[in-house]
Symmetry: C2
């Protein structure tokens, strides 16, 4: 058996302690599978005195992650501190420059600085791995980069923020408004310190941009992701969509079109009986579509100590086994700068609006849609207990329409004189 | 860019031609991802004159796969002939002995000779890879061997024969008996030449035994798989199970227990709203459960030209990239001979029986169950149009019970004097 692979672990939060536990509990299993022992040499975190419920006594303590990153007695620098600038970034850069392999769970770091870091790692001949950064315990980076490597990827989709899916699922099952469930989630500790990272779709957008880079051989382009969070999703729309056979998910979609790379992370309707529609609570799902393989669906825990540490350690074992694959699947210098396209791929849309309940109102809306070249697949007019007597709620599912045409048509509804409030338009992603 | 990786392709059926198509259509993509060109040097099949709808003119033709396996100008021998003895086995052995890497889609070969072949490959320092052998296009071998390498695997489950799942799904949706749907499947070309490989559970059992070897670090032990096909599944049970919230699947389960390795490929009930329960038609699903990661579900096409060739080529690209992992995840000599255990893991059971509709009949059955230590979770007595006037159909869902106790109890029903015909007992796998 070869020499041990020696780890330096920067960050002793949930994920870091999860890594410590696996290394300690599964030492024999990992040595057998890796062909060599895997050991922790040194650790670092801000506060040494904190009780972490793990025995760290055998490890050298470094207060400064940069000092950890340059130690002669580590082969792999594990970055599970978080944050896309500051110490995480700096220590990662130093680790690479010092010839260490790097394993990180930091999606924000990769979304913002992935290209520069990948180039540096390749210059130094070290691995930069990040299975834990996308969809937690699901081995999706490996599935996409290696398992589907013979495919031209057509589309990547994913529900990749468990907190958002928890909130949307709970709104549906309990019939509670967003604000109430958001507050519940906060009290349960499900939200990031800056909740907008979750509910604003930023965290999930980071993940999507990383998957898109691998799928399409392009540089990570997070700034080009169309982002819309779940804050405007109403329990009304969740219920009405359900009645029509759909569920609302914060869904990421990346696809290469003739116009360029479309990336969006937005609330979407998906069929209730599809794997994505069936996804409840905090679980993640990623859908990969290749020209040869067709559709592959991966489902599993997207966060938590065990799953995230499992993914970090998969990368470590790959390194121990000598597996080397370029960071984003092809050499970083070959990654093309993607042409960012705003979404133009047509899709059916769900429209909800309130109209004045008077003769001809519906005809005016239908005419507006027709003028925009949009045809109607389903339509329902409702009057529910609690609706104002003079109002009618109208639901429309369109046939496939270009996003710009939907925007144009819904804007024109205001000129009909029959619209009450603002119409809601949500894309129905065909899965 | 390095020298080309040169392939010798033995077998030009559906999968072989799929490989040819990918190599030809995606040459640039594969070269970029592999870091080197991947080319086909020579091919072999029994009949050279057959029209195969692919341009093979650039490849040297070998009539004998053994001659192909020993050619100096190939680096990788791709075996997609099929059959677990005869030419496929012999040519694979010769290829390994000649220092060629081997990629195979042949589950039967691995289930019967995996240990010997893996040992030979390791002695020769060549790769023996088989992603396509289990669940077609789903990258499950990679997910289990590499993606979940930091986990002690607790259980592996799978619906891995698309034909069986097609038959069961169609029986359910159309209300047709097994024999009718079997005949439909035969006419659609879904069945192997020997249909028992499909409907007898043998093909799926081969796949399960391969997954179990990787999951538990044990030698492939196909002979120890408890096999029961779908030939005795009645449309009645499918319908009654559905009424109680379950679906019937040909489900493989492998788990390591204190008594040894349990492997079974049998019809089971699973909750209708679980991912396994939702699986319709020919799609495959594999569920992997690890101590750290929890449950990972993989879903995708289990057969067909594109998906299977995608998996073959993923192995080829791994080899081109220099990725080397032992055939079953750890060195073949370290694989332990598993102690085979007959299923003793308790589970709830679905019981259906017909009783004489007279006072005390049900009490006698309940007493038999109680005497065997089995308690009842749900019970229904039905009298449906078409049932004989003097009969009552009784459905029971038990609490968890040991399989041996179920066998004992159902055998004892015959002594009650109220049983008509034979009782049906189907395990409910907790997923």
């Amino acid at each position: 058996m070869s020499a041990p692979l020696r780890l330096g672990l920067a960050g002793l939060g949930t994920v870091g302690i999860g890594v410590v536990r696996i290394v300690q509990a599964q030492a024999d299993l990992i040595a057998t599978r890796s062909g060599r022992p895997v050991t922790i040499t040194a650790v670092s975190a801000r506060d040494r005195t904190k009780n972490r419920d793990a025995d760290l006594s055998a490890y050298t303590w470094e207060t400064d992650p940069v000092a950890l990153a340059t130690r002669e007695d580590i082969d792999v620098f594990i970055e599970v501190m978080g944050g896309h600038d500051g110490p995480a970034r700096h220590a990662t850069e130093v680790a690479i420059a010092s010839g260490k392999h790097v394993v990180t769970a930091n999606k924000a770091l990769l979304a913002h600085h992935g290209q520069v870091l990948a180039e540096a790692a390749e210059r130094q001949g070290v691995a930069l791995r990040f299975e834990a950064a996308v969809a937690g315990g699901i081995p999706v980076i490996k599935a996409l980069t290696e398992g589907l490597a013979a495919n031209r990827i057509k589309r990547v989709m994913g529900v990749m923020n468990g907190t958002c899916n928890y909130i949307l699922t709970r709104m549906q099952s309990a019939g509670l408004p967003y604000e109430t469930v958001f507050e519940e989630a906060r009290q349960l500790g499900y939200l990031e310190a800056d909740p907008n990272l979750d509910v604003g779709g930023i965290d999930a957008g980071h993940k999507l941009s990383i998957l898109a880079a691998i799928a399409f051989g392009t540089r990570v382009s997070f700034d080009a992701v169309e982002l819309e969070g779940i804050g405007n999703v109403s329990v009304d729309d969740i219920r009405l969509a359900e009645d029509m056979g759909y569920r609302i998910k914060l869904l990421g979609v990346a696809q290469m079109t003739g116009r360029g790379l479309e990336q969006r992370m937005t609330p979407c309707l998906v069929p209730a009986d599809s794997p994505l529609g069936q996804l409840q609570g905090g679980t993640n799902m990623v859908v990969l579509e290749g020209d040869s393989v067709g559709q592959i669906v991966l489902r599993g825990p997207g966060a938590g100590m065990g799953p995230t540490a499992s993914a970090v350690m998969a990368d470590v074992i790959d390194i121990a086994r000598g597996i080397r694959v370029p960071t984003f699947g092809i050499p970083a210098s070959d990654l093309a700068q993607p042409k960012a396209a705003t979404s133009a791929t047509p899709a059916p849309y769900y429209l909800r609006m309130t109209l004045l309940d008077k003769p001809g109102a519906l005809a005016k809306i239908a005419t507006s849609l027709g003028d925009a070249g949009i045809s109607i697949d389903q339509m329902r007019q409702l009057h529910r207990p609690g609706d104002r007597a003079e109002d009618a709620v109208v639901l429309i599912v369109t046939h496939k329409a270009a996003p710009a045409d939907i925007t144009h048509a819904t804007a024109s509804f205001a000129t009909t004189g029959v619209l009450v409030g603002k119409p809601v338009a949500i894309r129905i992603e065909e899965v």
